[in-house]
């Protein structure tokens, strides 16, 4: 089926070229970083994780979000999702590629990355994260590819795919739970030290992932002969609505516990993010933008009239995506480090090369996505037509 990725129109090749240009720029910046070290980034002794790890965290969510298509389809036999199941799986593959790349570019000694395998350390959550992420990548490649291949040949998928697909569903919950455990098990980071971290991660993932998938479905319908189906898109919209509301609810639970208990180590991070702390507040406008977008998105999602209107739904999904991205991709990591355990404040903002490396990784993911979607949709067009 790979051959389908090598034939395409001008628009397709234009898109491939577009991603490639930014990948090359990002790669050159990475070579620069490799040479001079991570001083090229805005990270510091106090904020020792930054944009890279934040993008990683957000994208694990996008990868896990694909399960919101797989679960109804495989567990509840919801046929309408049969058409887009592979789109969800391929989105997960692209997101996971980005995750692994973001971890890699964040390492101080990337050539030693295999030490994680040579010296396996079960008491480290990062060891488990490596296992679940790579495992989930493998599962999605196997399931997506086999099912698509069967569809192309006009036969039913082999029987062994079913149990593998069943396994992939709890596994998706697993990747984001373990990723939350990276943060919520650290004793001195009050912002992250909360049992609701994993549920919050899952809720925002199940909003952002399907929101992106919905946008992609609309794009696919617009630019190809394959129609994911109106009902499938509407169902995705409902999933986004429930998940996003759950996400906001969990966030408000967090706010209550933090402020009512009034424990400084927990409050200070929220203060830094939303009102600024001791005159420092680089992220304040961003966090309020995220909150405002969330409020608008919830209204548009809850009111049936706006949710059912596809154009509005797409805009809503864009709002959801941006809102959750700011929350996780900007606020979550930096907010956890400010103030530091000594109650000192060092602010953080990504540098230009750091930003370009991140863009390069995003574009690498979107290139993988473009190639995989090209293959999937060519097959579907062939079968459908």
């Amino acid at each position: 089926m790979f051959e389908k990725a090598f034939v395409g129109g001008k628009k397709y090749w234009g898109l491939v070229l577009f991603w490639s240009v930014f990948i090359v720029i990002g790669f050159l910046c990475y070579l620069w970083q490799l040479k001079v070290g991570l001083k090229l980034t805005g990270m510091s002794r106090d904020v020792s994780w930054g944009f890279y790890i934040a993008q990683f965290t957000f994208l694990v969510g996008v990868a896990a979000g694909g399960v919101m298509v797989a679960l109804p389809y495989y567990f509840h036999n919801y046929k309408k999702f049969g058409r887009i199941a592979v789109l969800g799986e391929f989105l997960a593959i692209a997101a996971l590629v980005m995750c692994l790349l973001f971890i890699f570019v964040d390492l101080g000694r990337p050539m030693r990355v295999l030490n994680v395998v040579f010296h396996p350390t079960p008491h480290s959550v990062m060891f488990w994260d490596m296992i679940v992420l790579n495992g989930y990548l493998l599962l999605n490649i196997i399931i997506g590819w086999t099912v698509l291949d069967a569809e192309k040949n006009g036969v039913a998928p082999p029987k062994w795919v079913k149990p593998v697909a069943y396994l992939s569903i709890p596994w998706a919950f697993g990747i984001h739970t373990v990723t939350a455990f990276l943060y919520c098990g650290l004793p001195a980071r009050g912002f992250w030290l909360t049992a609701i971290m994993a549920p919050r991660f899952l809720a925002s993932a199940f909003a952002a992932g399907p929101a992106l998938l919905l946008i992609l479905c609309i794009l696919v319908r617009k630019y190809t002969k394959f129609d994911p189906g109106k009902e499938a898109i509407q169902t995705l919209g409902k999933i986004v609505a429930y998940a996003f509301i759950a996400n906001i609810f969990f966030f408000l639970c967090e706010v209550f516990t933090t402020f009512y208990s009034h424990i400084p180590e927990h409050i200070n991070h929220f203060k830094y993010l939303f009102v600024g702390l001791h005159g420092h507040g680089k992220l304040v406008p961003w966090m309020w933008l995220s909150a405002a977008l969330a409020v608008i998105a919830i209204i548009l999602l809850v009111v049936p009239a706006t949710r059912k209107q596809e154009d509005v739904l797409v805009v809503t999904c864009i709002l959801v995506f941006i809102s959750t991205w700011i929350d996780k991709g900007l606020g979550l990591i930096t907010g956890g480090f400010i103030p530091n355990p000594l109650e000192e404040i060092t602010e953080y903002w990504p540098t230009f090369p750091e930003f370009m490396i991140s863009i390069g990784v995003w574009c690498a993911g979107f290139l993988v996505l473009t190639l995989l979607y090209k293959i999937a949709i060519s097959v579907k067009e062939e079968v459908g037509g």
């Binding site: 991570l38 002794r45 980071r189």
Partner: protein
């Protein structure tokens, strides 16, 4: 047997994986000649749990910590002017930063304490979160309680920095060598991309020497010893004085005690 193209590619692929994976898995050759030939230095200090007592009453006189300077010079710790990239093993903090819980806003702690410098360093916790999170065991705990870094193994993921409740760890954001004014040829430097911190001078203890900072402090404000030995000086000091430890409530059981 007829083999079609598809079949051939499959067989070829599996063979390539098999041929390359085999040697890759045979990780390290056994070095027979060196088995059973390693010894501990008979002069090594012996302790069950090393600890340090800081008599902060004696610290008042020093604007700059002589012990910290000696440590940094001995261990080739670079002097990096940008505080964001700084590397520190042992340094002075004010009371409110060393003990943020005990110095919440508006707290009445007394002018004298507020002025007093507090020397802080790795606490060599009994239950170190950094060791728990390290994905390669590059940070590990020795039997005598010292929390050590294996610079050869560190991949620079900085999970340990997020886990440390005391801000004791520094990352090499760049090559440290240009920032070392006078190298100590007896001790290595570090390289860009690894995390470092105080290791209670493990290599000196193994040769029967005390940590550099303890030897260098002109006021004898730093005392080092085995807290598990009731006759050691550190045990006697914590027996006699009321001491504080940083963030005790986190359950890390830090091993640096502060006499107020």
């Amino acid at each position: 047997m007829a083999v079609d193209r598809r079949e051939f590619i499959k067989i070829a692929g599996v063979s390539v994986i098999g041929l390359t994976l085999g040697p890759a898995l045979k990780l390290e050759e056994k070095v027979e000649a060196s088995e059973g030939k390693v010894r501990r230095d008979p002069k090594a200090l012996k302790g069950k749990r090393w600890a340090m007592v800081v008599d902060t009453r004696k610290c008042e006189k020093c604007k700059k910590c002589v012990a910290a300077e000696a440590c940094h010079a001995y261990h080739n710790v670079p002097k990096i002017p940008d505080p964001k990239r700084e590397i520190k093993w042992i340094w002075q903090e004010s009371f409110e930063h060393a003990f943020p819980h005990l110095a919440a806003e508006g707290e009445h702690i007394g002018e004298e304490i507020k002025r007093r410098p507090f020397v802080i360093l790795c606490n060599h916790c009994k239950h170190p979160p950094c060791v728990r999170v390290c994905p390669t065991k590059a940070t590990f705990q020795r039997e005598d309680g010292i929390v050590m870094m294996d610079m050869h193994r560190c991949i620079g993921c900085r999970f340990c920095m997020a886990a440390c409740p005391y801000g004791s760890r520094s990352f090499n954001w760049m090559d440290p060598r240009p920032y070392i004014t006078k190298e100590n040829p007896e001790y290595p430097t570090r390289t860009k991309g690894v995390v470092e911190k105080c290791d209670f001078c493990a290599e000196r203890i193994d040769q029967g020497l005390l940590p550099v900072c303890v030897e260098a402090c002109p006021e004898k404000a730093l005392v080092f010893g085995d807290i598990n030995d009731p006759n050691s000086e550190v045990s006697k000091l914590v027996e006699k004085h009321f001491t504080l430890r940083r963030k005790l409530e986190l359950g890390t059981d830090p091993q640096v005690y502060y006499i107020i």
